[in-house]
Symmetry: D2
Subunit: 218 residues, 4 copies
């Protein structure tokens, strides 16, 4: 499994230039937007006057008070490779995220080894598992040679087949996703994904996704 | 594939009784709700005075003008059985519907025959297809006997494995779903589902989902 | 303020008739749908065999465990009359509900008295408040006579002006709405609305919206 | 009315640095993400090999074919000042956008002149309009002095009162918003907003929001 944070919400450089503002990160932006709902001051004044401590304080309170819209202003795009269709079927259920998934309707994914659950190895069944994959792969190619369209040949491909997705999710729904999927009841593969996402996102938004605020996750 | 319309939005019987109103169907309700936004008259007066022709006229216009909220007031719950996980993986992507799907984490689905694409039969590969299923099934049970949890044994189950879902969807998103999935570019299995849903829903909402309005679908 | 539950999700009578099932309420339906994801048994068997205690038990657990989709299967339509545009502006922010609101673009709402906050009466300012309304009303009509379209004349109408809405909301988002708006921090008018909705909905879904489960609301 | 594009989805600079990629704009990103669903090639190869013409071609097709998810990957945050609560009440109905609005519960907005519809001026009623505002303002302050909380004093403030919002919206829902609100049937103030947003966004995403593609807007 490989997860990369490829894009996220950032200030319009043109806006910063025009108003002579320093580059600020997403937490700074979200905390300023939040604060602007409660003051006469416009966003520009807030951005000029806010100090680091205020940002940390406002971000922390927004999570503690469940102000979803603050985290909701920040969007993130993740690239997710080397996962099974067990995972992707669960993942695309998250209705408030947007997905682009490699389609099996027009792409042959059999050059990649299928995902292997650790319990199969522990049960000493790894060889049977991979021999079965070889047979599946071979039947897939025979079907295609006999004229079956690959969108139909894929009916024999297992859940374990590798897939690749792009997920766009806002910070508020990401908090909900992490709460649900880092939980020990979550299935092992999606749990691994949630942990990798959490570790990536903490670098970009250390306050919003801090360990200390986990108990407030919604 | 078996599709049933098991529930839908209906007037509160208590409300009808209190106000001495006759039982009216969903289109009557939606057209009255729509009309109430543009008049001084309350909903009760509208429900008492509206005639059949006005209902047909208002429903027709709501589709022609793209007034999503009219159809959006009507929700439907469908039970969908005997479909593959190719279909369910596509289906749960529809973000504005709600799904409850039989889980492979705790349920063994191998007593049901897998979905067979017609092109496999046409290619004379039906026997190979079903022999491969027998081997897959047998390996699945061996894995479980060796102590692999069924949530991991399922990694070898194919896309063709039968599943069962419940889908709740509002009329507006259903119109979008039908437009997308009755289209000739749609994959054959989800197309078949869309057609069955359309034929069921036309009985309950003949004006909203009429053939004549298909060109206005959004 | 007048709130009525005018419609909600109910079993398709045709489905009950075909399968010879007794009429069941929404909680029965939602609990059966939830249970069907975890069993080999189909929905019909579950509906035939479930007893009252099991329904109560499953509904209770669905709230305690935060299984949103169970409550999410049940939709409700409320008619809301005699509220201000302070309330409606806040209300339509709830993004997962659907609204139909009486428009001021084509309807003159000045025959109805404006909403009066209790604190205005307490401050002895009721007369000034209603005299100001009379002047506003009179200017509104002058503007219209002078040829100002009513969609522009309404710019002088106050927040207190009465409006009327229809809200469709599913059970899961209703739980969130009630949590947020029954809270003592909520504004008094929307709080009153939330209380009236809660008291109506408890009659229809006594277990899902029971007082005992309030601590689990999301 | 003042509208500013303050932030939008941009590549993670760290990701570009690590993979030695040049800075690319949002359309480049969205077109690459779209293309990656249909190829064996990973996103990195696509980003390295794509030429300008291919980007234009893919973006154009995504709109023509109604591939919502391509535009849906790009989010934008707008700051909107100097608009009435007629506009904001309509605006926050767009359910797929996120809003942060200056609250009248804790902020006194009476230092700003109310929005004046051109038809009021044309009818020669500008003086009456502004005298009424002075009386309203004066009553508002009397109410506050007499102890009425400002969250209740605002009940007399007119629809014309100035407000300020932040709106986050993805490209797909923005296309829908523009279609609906640039339309001649839209109310004049929100139409003006839509036009300003369109002219801002065309600078950042000239292909996605080009005049030529307007007929395909959904």
């Amino acid at each position: 499994m490989k997860v990369r944070l490829i894009a996220y919400m950032q200030f319009n450089p043109e806006y910063l230039r025009q108003h002579n503002l320093p580059v600020r990160n997403g937490e700074w932006m979200a905390s300023a937007l939040m604060h602007s709902t409660r003051t006469r001051e416009g966003l520009l004044e807030i951005l000029r006057e806010t100090c680091e401590e205020e940002v940390v304080d406002r971000i922390t309170k927004s999570v503690q008070w469940g102000h979803f819209t603050v985290a909701g202003m920040l969007d993130f795009i993740f690239e997710i490779e080397g996962v099974s269709r067990v995972l992707s079927h669960q993942l695309v259920r998250h209705r408030m995220a947007w997905f682009l998934q490699q389609t099996q309707r027009s792409t042959d994914p059999t050059h990649l080894v299928p995902i292997l659950p650790p319990t199969v190895t522990e049960a000493g069944m790894e060889n049977d598992y991979s021999q079965h994959w070889d047979k599946t792969k071979s039947l897939y190619h025979t079907l295609v040679e006999k004229g079956v369209p690959i969108e139909d040949a894929r009916y024999i491909l297992p859940n374990a087949t590798q897939t690749r997705l792009v997920m766009k999710i806002d910070g508020s729904n990401l908090i909900h996703f992490l709460k649900l999927r880092i939980d020990p009841h979550a299935q092992w593969e999606i749990r691994e994904l949630a942990k990798q996402i959490h570790s990536l996102i903490k670098k970009t938004c250390p306050n919003l996704f801090s360990e200390e605020l986990k108990e407030y996750w919604w």
